[in-house]
């Protein structure tokens, strides 16, 4: 039943296809077009391949789509010996091959006996547009939408008839909208003033970049009709105000996402530095250990990247947490109350950890794969899209914050930690084992740093220097937010992130960092306790 409406669509589509094809190629016989294209594809250089692709696409052969798709994905190979075209699935040094023309299975072969049919960017573009033209009749609305998008570029006023035909049979709303936009653009390119003015009226507030370019090129035209110019300016203004609004939304999102990374990196430090007052210069390296844990777990289970990522969270917490406890028990506990010596000792530890990782994993960066659900972006409208990895990390950091907050507020460990941090002597008098609490608190802060490492492994390099990049930012956030206050870290981190992103566009990335740093220095002069000063005895 669902097939019924689609059949009607085929006729106008075919007309469209024919219009789009180069005339010369239509003259030749279709099957020779295909075989000729294939032989050029095997032997030709990039320029010849370009023609071959057009020929193959124009041939209308049923194998064309699969062939072009495989070529685009880099799965099309030829056997070096006899130039047979094959689809190949490569695993290590072996390849599983299938005939590209006949489709029959040809078994396995050594990878070295195959040669890939290579393409470059130019070919990639023409492959995509060839595929899109075939795809105008695709059952998938998303594919049709993209096909229409590609059409807009080469549109002329003559095409409006075809577009009307397409519109009549189109059922999907977003594709209809795109088709209407295409028709309006076609009208703008034509000579009919009345049609152009109506088209402009309909384009009010349309955010598609094609429309924006069309209108600015219209306005640049010489001896433009006055009424048309007035209307065009009006439309441009309406689009412009929308663009700047969404620009603001985008900036805010960028800022929050940068802030969430800062919060994640700093929150472990907020505990070790804020609660037990240890200046831990090895904090960055604990983050790094978390990132390497992610890498190792992914190596152990290469086929389920998503699951590996989830397992990495507790694993990284344990690895970094235990390392933290070892550091605390073996070094830091002898240095309580001597901040300068703690600083130097932990800095030494950070260098040791870095060089250890260099010796074990080599100084080269390791690659951590991103699961499919974390790559790409969510398209809100043509000019605003939010990247999914950033959204995930934003949510993740809020969850970590909430979890940590609950732990400190609601659990008995949290109570003891707060008691020790507020008044060590009194807490001990009440039977709290201060030394044990110190070790656990340090372990907790370090473990959280490890979790931050899991998130950072998705954003940046996993290498021995990972930690150094975040240590200064982490201290900045904690000091700005107020030592010993988790809320301060959250608000401080997000504020710094947003401020950074609003300064960046007009000052540049380098200057933005400097301005933020200067601002914090001045702020600390005025309010040495940070945004949210800690109350109680520890503050004195």
């Amino acid at each position: 039943m669902q097939h019924q409406p689609r059949k009607h669509r085929i006729l106008p589509l075919l007309t469209l296809l024919i219009m789009l094809l180069p005339l010369s190629s239509m003259a030749a016989d279709d099957s020779t077009l295909f075989t000729e294209g294939i032989s050029i594809l095997i032997k030709g250089n990039f320029k010849e391949k370009q023609l071959a692709i057009q020929q193959i696409a124009a041939s209308g052969d049923s194998r064309a789509r699969g062939l072009l798709q495989a070529l685009l994905e880099g799965k099309l190979y030829r056997i070096k010996k006899d130039d047979t075209l094959v689809f190949a699935e490569i695993t290590d040094s072996r390849a599983h091959i299938r005939s590209a023309l006949g489709g029959e299975n040809l078994g396995e072969i050594k990878k070295r006996k195959l040669k890939k049919i290579t393409i470059n960017n130019g070919l990639r573009t023409s492959l995509k547009s060839s595929l899109a033209r075939i795809d105008l009749s695709s059952p998938d609305p998303a594919v049709r939408l993209q096909a229409v998008n590609l059409l807009i570029i080469g549109l002329s006023p003559k095409d409006s008839g075809l577009l009307t035909n397409l519109l009549e049979t189109e059922t999907d709303d977003s594709v209809r909208e795109e088709l209407l936009t295409a028709m309006n653009i076609a009208a703008l390119r034509g000579d009919d003033h009345g049609a152009a003015v109506t088209a402009l009226k309909q384009l009010h507030g349309n955010l598609s970049p094609a429309v924006r370019n069309e209108i600015s090129s219209l306005l640049n035209k010489e001896n433009l009709d006055e009424s048309l110019q007035k209307e065009a300016l009006l439309v441009q203004r309406s689009i412009q105000s929308k663009v700047s609004f969404f620009g603001l939304v985008e900036k805010l999102f960028f800022g929050l996402s940068l802030g969430s990374v800062l919060v994640l990196a700093a929150i472990g430090l907020a505990i070790t530095f804020g609660v037990i007052g240890v200046i831990n210069m090895a904090h960055g390296e604990l983050i790094m250990l978390g990132a390497y844990t992610t890498y190792v777990i992914q190596q152990l289970m290469p086929n389920s990247i998503g699951l590996a990522l989830f397992l990495s969270i507790p694993a990284a917490f344990l690895v970094s947490g235990l390392t933290g406890i070892i550091i605390e028990r073996s070094v830091i506990r002898f240095l309580y109350g001597r901040p300068l010596e703690t600083l130097l000792a932990t800095f030494g530890i950070s260098l040791i950890l870095q060089q250890t990782v260099r010796s074990i994993f080599s100084p080269l960066n390791r690659s951590v794969a991103t699961p499919a659900w974390m790559s790409g972006s969510i398209q809100i409208n043509p000019i605003l899209s939010l990247t999914t990895n950033r959204i995930t990390i934003l949510i993740f950091s809020l969850l970590v914050f909430a979890g940590l907050y609950l732990l400190l507020r609601r659990s008995s460990l949290g109570l003891q930690v707060r008691a020790v941090s507020q008044n060590r002597a009194m807490a001990r008098a009440m039977g709290v084992q201060a030394a044990r609490v110190d070790a656990l608190t340090f372990g907790l802060g370090s473990g959280i740093a490890g979790i931050a490492g899991v998130a950072l492994a998705q954003l940046t390099n996993v290498g021995p220097n990972l930690g150094q990049a975040y240590i200064i930012d982490s201290f900045m956030v904690v000091v700005f937010g107020g030592v010993g206050n988790l809320w301060g870290t959250l608000i401080g981190g997000l504020t710094l992130g947003v401020a950074n992103k609003f300064i960046e566009p007009w000052a540049g990335a380098v200057l933005a960092k400097i301005i933020i740093l200067v601002f914090i220095i001045l702020f600390i002069q005025k309010r040495p306790q940070g945004l949210f000063p800690q109350k109680g005895r520890a503050a004195e």
Partner: protein
């Protein structure tokens, strides 16, 4: 400040500990200095070059050494600490009495050791692409000068891919700044308008690329074909390419051509979002010829891993080392002055299937290759210059350097001779 001081001291201690004098031989040897960071931030790139040098020296010894003597590598770790580079260079030359030094990666480290090599009249072979605007009697630049990498890449984009708008994105230090200055002047000389060039600098190790990539996207959505010319260095590349992929910028909409991303860097990246982006180098591991095959085989068996890749700076060391060997044989001695005279004009095979020659300006001739990144982390060559390109020490596109030439042959023997005034300013 305290922390950097401490780092320096610790680095020193580490470096002194790692002086490696090889096997104590009774017979006389020729010492070759290897000055690459094995710890600190630059270890990521430079460790491989140290291994390359050890391999080349081992091979030369198997062939019977040089002038009837065995070669001996003296490896010192300057720990990514620029002042330490100068100190260690002095140690290599004065204490270890090395015949030549192969080393340095960053321009800062090269500038730091330069006065030492000039003062003690020793030889440095520098294997990395750099910004040009320098020519020293004691330094041989075997990496690419801007006209051997940046300018051909821009030509390719302009002529073959019809790029009309340009984003010049770089890390904020001397190499990107100078290269972009040259490129900007070059683009303007080709009639590109100011509005069609966007220049952007970011700090070292920048990891939050959201707004910059979004700006690039907007810049590229204005109807004209846009490309990014990237001099972004080191670690900042991974988050940059990831962000490009996530924001939906693919190589066929806005291609990125990079000058600092090679096979080694790609081996630490998830390459899926990068496929189709470009890099310009003078050598790719994927180049198909016998010399290169042999080199890769030697390398992988020397390093005992079939997964290790080769890259452009390694080839530069290969060329530089062969040139030095040939020049020493020609001069019949390892004396610096004799080798300096002998090496000009020396021609050796490179790994891209041609021959490279040492020019009188101490730069070499190389082919320029443009490659597209493939899913397996290798490059597919999509374009290359028809012949060798000679390195130009002083760019023709910068005010103040276009009248300068460099020629270390006597009687001129000058690194920055001004053809207009007829004067040699600076070093002789």
């Amino acid at each position: 400040m305290k922390s950097t001081l401490l780092a320096a001291t610790l680095g020193c201690a580490l470096a002194i500990g790692s002086v490696f004098t090889g096997h104590a031989r009774a017979a006389e040897t020729i010492k070759v200095g290897v000055l690459h960071s094995l710890s600190g931030t630059m270890a990521i790139s430079e460790t491989t070059l140290k291994d390359t040098m050890l391999m080349l020296i081992t091979e030369q010894n198997k062939k019977g050494g040089l002038l009837g003597k065995q070669l001996e590598a003296v490896v010192i770790d300057p720990a990514s600490d620029w002042p330490l580079f100068a100190e260690k260079a002095r140690e290599l030359i004065e204490k270890e009495k090395v015949a030549a030094v192969f080393g340095c990666w960053t321009s800062v480290s090269r500038k730091s050791v330069l006065p030492v090599f000039e003062e003690l009249n020793s030889l440095l072979f520098y294997p990395v692409q750099y910004e040009g605007e320098e020519s020293s009697k004691n330094v041989f630049y075997t990496g690419a000068a801007p006209n051997q990498q940046a300018i051909p890449a821009v030509d390719y984009l302009m002529n073959d891919m019809n790029v009309k708008r340009w984003v010049l994105a770089g890390t904020d230090y001397v190499y990107p700044r100078t290269t972009n200055k040259i490129l900007e002047a070059y683009l303007k000389s080709k009639g590109v308008a100011d509005a069609d060039i966007m220049i952007n600098y970011t700090p070292f190790g920048h990891s939050d690329w959201q707004s910059i990539v979004s700006d690039i996207k907007k810049f590229g959505s204005e109807g004209k074909k846009t490309a990014v010319v990237s001099t972004i260095n080191g670690d900042a590349n991974v988050p940059f390419y990831k962000e490009l992929g996530n924001q939906g910028i693919t190589a066929d909409t806005i291609p990125v051509v990079a000058f600092s991303v090679g096979e080694e860097e790609l081996s630490g990246i998830d390459t899926k979002p990068l496929v189709g982006h470009l890099a310009a180098w003078n050598y790719f591991m994927s180049v198909d010829n016998e010399v290169n095959d042999a080199f890769i085989e030697n390398w992988q068996s020397f390093i005992k891993s079939e997964k290790r890749v080769t890259n452009d700076p390694m080839e530069a060391h290969y060329i530089g080392f062969s040139m030095w060997v040939k020049a020493v044989e020609k001069a019949g001695s390892t004396d610096s002055t004799a080798v300096q005279e002998a090496i000009i004009g020396v021609t050796v095979p490179n790994l891209s299937g041609g021959y490279s020659a040492m020019m009188p300006n101490h730069h070499i001739t190389k082919p320029v290759l443009i490659g597209e990144i493939q899913e397996d982390g290798q490059f597919e060559v999509v374009w290359q210059t028809s012949g060798m390109v000679a390195g130009d020490a002083w760019s023709d596109f910068l005010e103040g350097s276009k009248d300068l030439i460099s020629d270390w042959r006597s009687p001129l023997s000058c690194g920055n001779f001004n053809v207009k005034t007829g004067e040699c300013s600076g070093s002789k």
